[in-house]
């Protein structure tokens, strides 16, 4: 059957779901996800896994665009003003989630390697879930700025934390020695490479777009820049979120006017792409995992949420941030999706071959992350909406 038929179905049903969830004062994202869940293999099976694979390019496309938009929202001036504070918050919320989850899992299982791996899953946030809500409600203000920056940048730290935790876990599981350099090398390349790639492309495309006059061409070229950035990142196994983020950031700060035009052009076409993205994400949710998630999943959910919220509160307090940021930032970054699942898949790849204990760990991690993602993907956007509405930053952007 033709793929376009399904894409059309996905947009229409996603859209109806979004309207529906708006009626309950929930963000549209929740409705898109539910539409996907209903259409997907879990319930009505209109979208088969095979088909989902085929339209998987939309994931990369949507993530690239989200990252670009987040990057464009991060202003150098904001960073300079609250840079130190933001960095502190990123560290405290990430480590807060890591430590609490690790602690909880250790108390439950008494296995250190398991605690480390689960802890390392926790900091990864889903930028799309947060950013799309911020856009839907036209949020603007200090909390919004902080949210964009934190969800954008904390993926770098999440990758780092995972690298260390995984190395340590391996040490506990099979013994032997590891060198610090070996641990750091991979993720450092992944992170720095992405930043450098995005930065260079940002400069190159900035010069090019400045020369363009027509609005049509601006959209074409900026979309092309994002696509190329995604493609190159995938090819070299760099973080495509970070590379597009730095593309957007360099672009936004060095070429202010050009970026305004590119940003507007990109934003005008994003809605259908987001809808498809979240419908696909919803279809991927495996609802049958929910009941078997067990106590471990519950611990993970509670510890991750309180770790993120508490960590953000602590970081914002010691760096003397706005009260709005202190109270609500943690709530805004609860979403968990692609990045965490990506890390879980990495665990299966790295630990699946390490004997029985490794295999058990791999299965447990992937199932638990997949199951808890159902909760976090749905709660995350709702919490973000709650946060910005409490902070009074809704409907402030023109």
């Amino acid at each position: 059957m033709d793929i376009l038929f399904f894409i059309g179905i996905a947009i229409i049903f996603g859209f109806i779901g979004g309207k529906f969830s708006n009626r309950f004062k929930f963000p549209g994202v929740v409705g898109y996800l539910f539409a996907g869940l209903i259409l997907g293999p879990s319930i009505f099976k209109i979208f088969s896994l095979e088909l989902l694979d085929k339209i998987g390019v939309f994931n990369d496309l949507a993530l690239g665009i989200v990252a670009f938009i987040i990057g464009s929202e991060i202003r150098m001036t904001t960073l300079r003003e609250m840079g130190k504070g933001i960095m502190t918050i990123i560290f405290t919320e990430s480590f807060g989630a890591f430590l609490l989850v690790a602690l909880g899992v250790y108390l439950l299982t008494h296995k250190l390697y398991m605690a480390l791996i689960f802890g390392a899953m926790a900091p990864a946030s889903a930028p799309a879930g947060t950013a799309v809500v911020l856009q839907e409600y036209k949020a603007k203000g200090p909390l919004t700025n902080a949210l964009y920056t934190v969800v954008g940048l904390d993926d770098g730290l999440a990758i780092m934390i995972y690298a260390f935790a995984a190395a340590l876990a391996k040490l506990f599981l099979i013994g032997g020695t590891v060198s610090f350099l070996n641990i750091v090398e991979g993720p450092l390349i992944e992170i720095l490479g992405a930043i450098v790639l995005g930065g260079l492309m940002g400069i190159a495309f900035g010069y090019f777009i400045r020369k363009l006059k027509g609005k049509d061409e601006v959209l074409a070229v900026s979309l092309a820049a994002i696509l190329i950035c995604i493609g190159v990142s995938k090819y070299f196994h760099l973080s495509l979120i970070l590379s597009n983020l730095s593309l957007g950031m360099v672009f936004a700060n060095l070429f202010l006017l050009a970026n305004r035009r590119a940003y507007q052009a990109i934003q005008s076409i994003t809605l259908p792409i987001y809808i498809i993205f979240f419908v696909i994400a919803g279809a991927h949710l495996q609802i049958k995992l929910l009941p078997v998630m067990g106590f471990l999943g519950l611990i993970y959910i509670i510890c991750r949420a309180s770790g993120l919220i508490g960590g953000a509160f602590f970081g914002a307090t010691i760096s003397k941030q706005d009260p709005a940021i202190r109270k609500y930032l943690g709530l805004g970054i609860l979403s968990q999706a692609g990045v965490a699942i990506g890390l879980a898949i990495l665990v299966t790849r790295e630990f699946g071959s390490l004997g029985k204990a490794g295999q058990d760990l791999a299965v447990l991690v992937i199932n638990t992350i997949a199951a808890t993602t159902i909760i976090f993907e749905i709660i995350g956007p709702i919490a973000t909406k709650f946060a910005i509405s409490k902070a009074g930053e809704m409907n402030k952007a023109k």
Partner: protein
């Protein structure tokens, strides 16, 4: 390689190529296609045949957008706007071109279905390349008006012709053995009905749903989804999706015109990257080697000649019967050569639909894509110059001008006042007042013995001296003159003068001979400048409005 990367590269290089070609006054479409040829298998081989196949959904979306936008143009208002004469010309040039090309191609290839298909494609005219020329040369007049109407409408006509031609061609190709009347009429009519009813159904649902959507952004996503769904459904039901989306567009624009206007901007913004990609892919599919085959090269030449002849004669005939002006009769045909998106799009649709009919169908599809793309090259290169020639001959160039255009085109020296009086710096107040009385001006440059500008006197600056009449003999011009702030020079663009006026909130400036010199050669006053600009504007447009009214009526 990652497919998104390829898409990105194709769009970027396509946009880049388009820009470069535009610099040489070649329509961008040609640039996109050439980039495609370079990336394709016949040159660099980055876009392989298998990759191109993977892009099929994107191509279909691009075609769907083209069809939808043409459909949206066909609303009641448009039909009401143009008089009957325009429709006479439209049908005459479209149908005549169709007949001529069909006849010629059938004679050469002995294949009636091929003739029908190429004939249908021949009737389309590319609006973009044509209207670009009109814009660039600011044309205005009966030829321009009729030309704009024709290019806006004839894509719709050609799609309808295509609809009929393609279903007949299909039944000719697929059932040559059992050729009965029922088959040759019934099947095509059924096919047409199927495509149209999908479009009508989707359009109806869409319009019903429109009522619940208030947000502009949402309705845009919804329309995109509807277009995509229509394409998908048509492919599913083996109908012609281009016709379905055309009908979708027509239904939407006529049932809910207001909502439709809201979304067209969004659709237009959404389209360029997809179009660029589309043309690059068309280029990548082109096989220049095919034209080494003389019969194919001959076919392309025949198509070109038949189409040009058909357009010229058809336009002439239509203009003759509708009693249009002589310039329209003579030159309209020359303006209709351009061919681009629609023709190529239709060629792609034919390729898509006919390759389902087996190897012969696929061959036909490839042949048509190549003939159309190659001839597009030629007509895109000769089309715009022909339009330029025609509008120049019809004396409609540089008529549709605004005040801004006049300002842009002149230098200060050309519109300044030369009849001004200088006041010597040692002139007494009496003498100054005498000078002011003689001339109808409020501002006067003050010069020294070497005729160098030293200051300005305006009525306002004199006011304070009037109180002390007994000093009339003592006060000299240099005492009351105000220092010179800014001057203009003769060769300065007039636009800069206006910028200075605006920024400094003044209405008078002296003009010196050259930049940096102090020799006053004229003055510029804001109000009289505006007057002379309006006079120039009137001179340019004089008489044209009446002619236009005659033509439109």
């Amino acid at each position: 390689m990652n497919i998104l990367f390829l898409v990105g590269i194709a769009i970027f290089l396509g946009a880049f190529g388009g820009k470069i070609f535009q610099r040489f006054k070649i329509p961008q479409v040609v640039g996109y296609i050439i980039i495609g040829v370079l990336l394709g298998e016949s040159a660099l081989g980055i876009l392989k045949q298998s990759t191109i196949e993977a892009f099929t959904p994107i191509i279909n979306v691009a075609l769907g957008l083209i069809g939808f936008r043409i459909g949206v143009e066909l609303n009641r208002e448009v039909f009401r706007k143009y008089g009957r004469s325009i429709y006479t010309i439209l049908f005459s040039e479209g149908l005549f071109t169709f007949f001529v090309v069909t006849l010629l191609v059938t004679l050469i290839t002995k294949k009636f279905y091929l003739g029908l298909l190429l004939g249908a494609l021949a009737s389309a005219t590319a609006p973009a390349a044509t209207t670009d020329v009109l814009w660039e040369y600011k044309t205005r007049g009966p030829l321009t008006t009729i030309l704009q109407a024709i290019v806006a409408l004839d894509d719709g006509l050609s799609l309808i012709i295509y609809g009929f031609a393609s279903v007949f061609a299909k039944s000719l190709l697929s059932s040559e053995a059992s050729f009965t009347l029922l088959h040759s009429v019934g099947v095509p009519l059924f096919e047409l009905g199927k495509s149209c009813s999908i479009g009508v159904g989707m359009g109806y649902i869409l319009c019903k749903l429109f009522r619940y959507i208030k947000d502009k952004e949402y309705s845009f996503s919804f329309v995109i989804a509807a277009i995509i769904l229509t394409i998908g459904a048509s492919i599913l039901l083996e109908a012609d999706f281009l016709l379905s989306v055309l009908v979708l567009g027509i239904v939407v624009t006529n049932l809910s015109p207001q909502e439709c206007r809201k979304i067209t901007g969004g659709i237009e913004r959404f389209s360029p990257p997809i179009y660029i990609l589309f043309f690059v892919l068309v280029g990548a599919r082109l096989q220049p080697r095919l034209f080494l085959n003389t019969s194919i090269a001959l076919l392309a030449v025949a198509y070109l000649i038949g189409r040009s002849f058909g357009k010229m004669m058809g336009a002439w005939g239509g203009a003759f019967f509708s009693k249009a002006r002589k310039t329209v009769r003579k030159y309209l045909g020359l303006c209709l050569f351009s061919q681009a998106g629609v023709a190529i799009g239709l060629a792609m649709v034919i390729y898509h639909n006919f390759s389902l009919l087996g190897p012969e169908g696929k061959e036909v599809g490839i042949l048509i894509i190549n003939v159309i793309t190659a001839t597009t090259f030629v007509v895109q290169l000769i089309g715009p110059p022909c339009v330029k020639f025609a509008v120049t001959k019809a004396d409609e160039v540089w008529r549709n001008i605004t005040e801004e255009d006049i300002v842009e085109s002149y230098r200060v020296g050309e519109l300044m006042r030369r009849d001004f009086s200088l006041i010597r710096e040692d002139a007494t107040l009496d003498k100054i007042i005498k000078t002011i009385k003689e001339r109808e001006s409020y501002h006067f440059p003050v010069v020294n013995n070497q005729n160098e500008l030293v200051g300005l006197i305006s009525l306002g600056s004199l006011r304070s001296t009037f109180l002390e009449e007994q000093l009339n003999q003592i006060i000299l011009a240099k005492d009351v003159a105000i220092p010179v702030g800014r001057v203009l020079y003769q060769e300065q663009p007039l636009k800069e003068a206006f910028e200075i006026f605006d920024r400094r909130q003044i209405d008078y400036l002296p003009v010196v001979q050259t930049k940096g010199s102090k020799k006053v050669v004229g003055i510029v006053e804001y109000h009289s400048l505006i007057e002379s600009i309006n006079r120039k504007l009137f001179e340019r447009q004089q008489g044209l409005d009446e002619e236009l009214k005659k033509a439109e009526g």
